[in-house]
Amino acid sequence: MIELFINAVVAGVLLGGFYAAVALGLSIVFGRLDIVNIAHPAFVIIGSYMAFYVNENFGLDPIVTSFLFLPVFFLLGIVMYRFYYVCFERTGQESLSGLAYFFGIMFIIEVLIILVYGVDYRNVQAPYIGHSLWINDWIPLGDFRVSLPYRMLVPFVVAAVVTGGVYLYLSKTYLGRAILAVSQDRVALQLMGANPIKVKQWAFGIAIATAAIAGALLIVIHPVEPSVGRLYIGRVFAIVILGGMGSISGTFFAALMIGIAETLISTFIGPSWAPAAAYGILLVTLAVRPQGLFGRA
């Protein structure tokens, strides 16, 4: 029982790290720019298929592939924002039409992937997939057997490093701070000498670039089919809100919490209940702490 519990918590932390990678870009775009990009998980899926394609044809590691493709995703993010700005934001129609725009993008991405790759599950090969790190080999735990599958551990480490990098970027660079400020008062930001549109555009680029990495992590963790991104939409929005809307560290910890809650529920109650964890925690949290668990104010 205790062994089961410990293994579930460990698996939950690792799963949560991956959720953090998916939520990271949304934390910037939804949490900081107030743009409801429901297509974000669809970009994650593009990342997965890109990793799959390169892995299948050239045998390259999926995560390495995602880093090579960062500039492409960054540009994709910029183009997507520009279009959004010109068509909706500039004319003040962003709320409803904007949602339709991102829904449309999500739909188009899914259809394109289905046209090219079909609806079958795809997976990747990497030397670390299928092996585990046994904690018992390092720390004497007596009778307990605690294992960390590398297909979960590697994504966790990558997610933690990328989250840390984005956190430092946003808090230590001029452009990063402008990204944090832009939705609070865009006129004031102009008076500081920054162009709010360029700042948002850059933020969008970074957000979509993180989706490339999250996509590679996803396909390392489990096989991917074109519409699997939908499973993550509710979950990652819940994580961003729990994390305090745009707090990068808050998002990371909220993701770990959801990951742990989900694996505990799968282990002790049943896997079909796991997706409810995020909503349950979100509802209870919003009732007692509307600013989220990790919000600053």
Binding site: Y174, R177, A178, L180, A181, Q184, D185, V187, A188, L189, Q190, L191, M192, G193, A194, N195, R296, A297
Partner: protein
């Protein structure tokens, strides 16, 4: 750098609503010029024209830096900041969910200011020691007086030669108002600034004014060549002092 500002015959406003009518003012290098007028007479609109937030329909706004003249009409706010004009806006407009220090760092966004950021940060902390104590506090959680200090300090962080200040006294208790006005004078002297300040608080503004204008319904009603002329003007006595 010796900077001065000349506004020549501008008309401007919001869409079809014309607020400023054929308005001209000058602010010479090293002066503190006050723009006096009660609510809704166009003070902020004029400052917005200078900073590029709104584009005047007619006229020119000449910035003269060491004899080199540029017309600011049609320039973006970013370009105006880069040219050395910084504005402390009405209502402070801080980034409430960022800390005091993050607000100050954002003030130094333009390339030129970045190079001098540590020097300027030390400088504003010396002028406003309170901000140093509170530097990790969220700006939105500070008192009105402290927020005004952040707003002024953030304006200095852009390392301007010309500082525009829009109603720094609004919402402050009387003792804080004179403190703030005194600080603006101190900043001006220590940084060799040229200052244009919009105010309705006549008694306070006049303490640091070298000259001034009275703006009524978007037109300059009275031009005072000295602080004395401002203080002894009949219209001001009527408007502000209720004499």
């Amino acid at each position: 750098m010796a900077s001065s500002l000349t506004v020549n015959n501008i008309d401007g406003g919001y869409g079809s609503v014309r607020v400023l009518h054929d308005l001209s003012i000058t602010v010479d290098f090293g002066e503190t010029v006050v723009l006096l007028g009660s609510n809704g007479n166009g003070k902020s609109t004029l400052l917005k024209c200078i900073t590029g937030l709104i584009k005047p329909d007619r006229g020119e706004i000449i910035l003269n830096v060491d004899g080199e003249k540029t017309d600011l009409v049609g320039k973006t706010p970013e370009e105006v900041v880069t040219a050395g004009i910084s504005m402390v806006p009405e209502g402070r407009r801080l980034f409430p969910a960022l800390t005091v220090e993050e607000n100050l760092y954002l003030g130094a966004y333009r390339k030129f200011a970045r190079k001098k950021i540590s020097e300027n940060l030390d400088f504003v902390y010396e002028i406003f020691p309170r901000l140093k104590e509170r530097r990790n506090q969220l700006a939105g959680s500070m008192s009105g007086g402290e927020q005004q200090m952040v707003a002024v300090a953030r304006g200095i962080m852009s390392d301007p030669t010309i500082l525009l200040v829009d109603e720094p006294s609004v919402g402050l208790a009387p003792n804080l108002v004179s403190h703030m006005i005194g600080k603006i004078r101190e900043l001006k002297e220590k940084k060799n600034l040229t200052v244009l300040m919009a105010e309705q608080n006549f008694n306070q503004a006049i303490k640091i004014a070298d000259r001034g204008y009275i703006i009524v319904h978007g037109e300059i009603e009275f031009t005072a060549a000295s602080a004395d002329e401002l203080a002894n003007n009949e219209m001001i006595k009527q408007y502000y002092l209720g004499v």
